[in-house]
Every structure is written in structure tokens, then in C-alpha cells.
Subunit: 272 residues, 2 copies
């Protein structure tokens, strides 16, 4: 079984890695967090493409047979470049399309909210896909939210003040659902829900992405998932970061949901 | 007159650039914000050194005759490497030493607080210099504060909640002064002061750094500052960033205090 390569600008994509490991138990995974260059959400599209392609190459060099772009900023700004790097034989799953597909399968009309990094929202890709599905998009960049969650501000005054600043004062009251367009946001989904009207559904893409990946692998590499779930699956999971600091090591468990060990792996070209 | 090269991981160091241009009017300045790689405050010492040395080289290539490391994370983690790159003929001014010198000239004893990024505090350099000066250091990393200010959260509930989380509940009540060990913090100095006991002095290093630079230049390059203040000084100032996005362009004025135009200058080696 070729490993599934999952990457993000940092450790937020571990929420997706967890969902994938639950959806396809026993399948080897290589996770790569580009902590040397995070956050992607504040960078230009060109630079996000440059970094994303390099990590895609790294994961392919490590033998991965499929790629999950577990970063909304990279999915929105670099997917074509990543697909080109991967070539036709490697399924590339992004986190945007499955979320929009899921929403459009549930809602025929109305306004859907999207929140994400500046790069994700500026790309306009969520908006374009939602519009194409006959829905109206209400998108807003909420750039400090991911950093706040990464710093552990999850259920107190800081995150509450941020949610109020970004989503409060009735700004989103007319939407049917809000897509949490950043892998960090699921960690404060409960608090967001509590500060919004109760009719608004929050859409966490991690699980729909994991489901989409499972379908893609079943379709293209059917024999690979026929292996039975293995109790030693953890030993076939590797979690790599391009710059390892103590705070990333400590934060990893919070995103993954259980203890994991990060290893530093410098990128093959100089980290400049 | 050779320009003064001033650099930071982003646009926060513009507070220092402004102070320098006020202290040494008419002197040409080249500012470099490494927006492609910010924030340095979350990176390892090794990576901060790598990025800092590259920017120092870039500024020397642009003809700068002195360097100001207007970033506390770089000053704390990469100063030796930057000095080695600059060589003996180029004065290199950091933002840590002048702040500690200023504090130790005013206080003979007692506890001095320091707040900064994770990389700044983890380096232990402020603490070491304060201890060497006979003072007791109380240091705390306040990592989300700089991002919040960069996002424009300056005088409302978000910054108030952060100040309370990091500095509240009497944690700093016994200090005589707190060094604002990050170039972003001066923008919320008033709010920090309002939430702390009134006896605590806040030390903004931008002005003491500008003064130290003026002395260094007077000492080593006396002829260079004998030129009269020029009303056309703005035309001799260049503000470069390694990745230009709209939000940096908009934010620059807030840090510099008046409108300036950022130009993108990719680093000479590939931005990887």
C-alpha cells in the first residue's frame, strides 16, 4: 500500500489526517507540515504555489500514491500546480471541492457563508464553486482566528472577542450554513455555534474530505484499501515538519486528538 | 551617504524606521521586510539565522553602510551571524541591547518585565543582559499579540482580552518596568498601560534604538551625518518586502505613521 501524503502549512491539517486515518484505518500516511513557511494564509498566490509544489514533490519522493492538500490556502491557490506536479496517476484531493459538494447536495438555494484565511478568500474559489452550484456565497476573511487557535485560545474571552469581531452583529444571520474554510476552525466550532443563531449549520470539511479521499482511492486504487485494518497502523504513520519547535510538538496532540511524535525533515533544497 | 539598512521579518520594524528617520533626518534608508518568511517569532533559532543572514547580505549588496536589526526575534537569535556577515566596517545595531542599556541606566535594582515572541523569550538574551546589569528579569512570551496588532486589533475587545490573558491577574504587578520586546507592541502601548498598575513604566525600544544608531554612526562614520536635514528625505527612502500583498501595503502606513509605498523585491536566491 502506497502511503497517502497529506500536507498543510503547519499542524492544522492534522485534523484532516485524523479524519483520514479513521475513514481508512490501517492505510499508511505521511503527513507534512511546512512549519518553516507557515502561515500560507498571508502569502501571495505565487509563493503559496511555490511552497506547495515543493512539498508535493517531497511526498511523491517519499513514495506516496495519493495526495491530500489539507490546507485551504493551498487548495484555493495552488491546486492546478500541485496536480501538474503529481501527474495523471496520482489522485489529488483538496479540502474545498468536497466541502462545496457536500453543501450543494444539501442546499438547493440560499446563501452559504465561508470563512478562511486572507489567501483562501481572496482566491475567490469557494465563492466561484458555490455560485456554480446555484448558491449565493457570503465570504469573509478571518485571518487572526487560526493563529489564536494555534496559540490555544479556544474557549475563552480571546476567541469569543474574535468571533464577535468577525461574525457578530448579525453579519451572517441570513446564511443557512457556514463552511469552516480552515483546518484550525473545527477546534472552536462549538464556540462559534454558540455565538451564532441556532439555525446556522457549521460545515467542518475534515470528514467530507476523508470520505472523498476514500471514494477516490476505492475508484482508482481499489486493491490498496482491501487490506484489513491493522492494529499497528500507528507505526505506518509519519508526521513530518520542515521546522520543529517545542510549541509545534506540543500543539500536535491538540489538533490530532491523541499523542503523536513530530519529526523534523528539512526540505531537500536549502530552506531559503 | 551610504544608506542605513533596516530589516524586520515584516512591517513591524517600520516603527523603528520611523524613529530612525526622525533621529537622523535626511539620511537615506533602505528598509527590508521579509514578508515571505514572517513571522520569525515562531521559528527555530537556526532558521531565523538563515533568513537574517540572507537579508543582511541583500542590504549590503544594496550598498548599506550600517545595519539595524529591527526585529527582536532576529536580534535575540541571529546577531552573531549577522555581525559576521557584515564584517568589522559595518555597524550593526540590534533592538535588545539599547533597550536593556536604557533600563539599566534608570533602574539600579528590582524586577524588569519583558514581553516578546516565543523565539525572543526562548533565546534568553534579554534575561541574560538584565541579570548581568544587576536586575531581575521576568520574561513572558506573548505570541499572539503581534499578529493581533498586525490585523488591526488595537483598541478593542480582542486586544484587551489578549492583554488580560498574557499580563493580567497581577502577574506583573511587582515589576518596575516592562520592555516591549517586539516592534509591534508600541501600537497598543496605551492600552497595555491602561490595563496595568500605573507605577509600571513601558519601554518602547524604537526611540532608544534610533538614538543608539545615531551615536554609532557619529562615532564610526562622523562625516556621514554632517549633511544637513533634507526636505527631500522621503525620496531617499526605500521600503522593500520579499512578498507584497495588499494587506501589507495597507498595514505599512499604520506602522510607519504616514503613507509609504512598499515595493516587492524577491530575494536573490530562489524564494524557497
Amino acid at each position: 500500500m502506497k502511503p497517502i501524503g497529506i500536507f498543510d502549512s503547519g499542524i492544522g491539517g492534522l485534523t484532516v489526517a485524523r479524519a483520514v486515518s479513521e475513514a481508512i484505518p490501517g492505510h499508511p500516511i505521511v503527513y507534512f507540515g511546512d512549519t518553516a513557511h507557515l502561515p500560507y494564509g498571508e502569502k501571495s498566490a505565487e509563493l503559496i504555489q511555490h511552497y506547495s509544489v515543493r512539498i508535493a514533490r517531497e511526498l511523491l519522493d517519499l513514495g506516496c500514491g495519493s495526495l491530500v492538500v489539507a490546507c485551504n490556502s493551498a487548495s484555493s491557490n495552488a491546486l492546478d500546480a500541485i496536480r501538474e506536479t503529481a501527474g495523471p496517476g496520482i489522485p489529488v484531493i483538496d479540502v474545498v471541492t468536497p466541502a462545496v459538494n457536500w453543501v450543494s447536495s444539501k442546499y438547493d438555494e440560499g446563501t452559504i457563508g465561508v470563512i478562511g484565511t486572507r489567501a483562501t478568500i481572496a482566491s475567490g474559489w469557494y465563492q466561484s464553486l458555490l455560485t456554480h452550484a446555484g448558491l449565493t456565497a457570503q465570504a469573509k476573511a478571518t485571518p487572526l482566528l487560526a493563529s489564536a487557535i494555534e496559540e490555544g485560545f479556544q474557549h475563552g474571552r480571546v476567541s469569543s472577542a474574535l468571533i464577535e469581531a468577525y461574525l457578530g452583529q448579525g453579519a451572517f444571520d441570513s446564511v443557512k450554513a457556514i463552511i469552516l474554510g480552515c483546518t484550525h476552525y473545527p477546534l472552536i466550532a462549538n464556540q462559534i455555534a454558540a455565538q451564532l443563531p441556532s439555525h446556522i449549520e457549521l460545515v467542518d470539511s475534515a470528514h467530507v474530505v476523508a470520505h472523498a479521499l476514500k471514494l477516490a482511492i476505492q475508484e482508482q486504487l481499489a486493491n490498496q484499501i482491501s487490506a484489513p485494518a491493522s492494529s499497528s497502523s500507528l507505526s505506518t504513520q509519519r508526521f513530518l515538519v520542515s521546522d520543529l519547535t517545542e510549541s509545534f510538538a506540543l500543539g500536535a496532540q491538540r489538533f490530532y486528538g491523541s499523542p503523536i511524535a513530530l519529526q523534523e525533515r528539512k526540505l531537500t533544497t536549502a530552506q531559503d
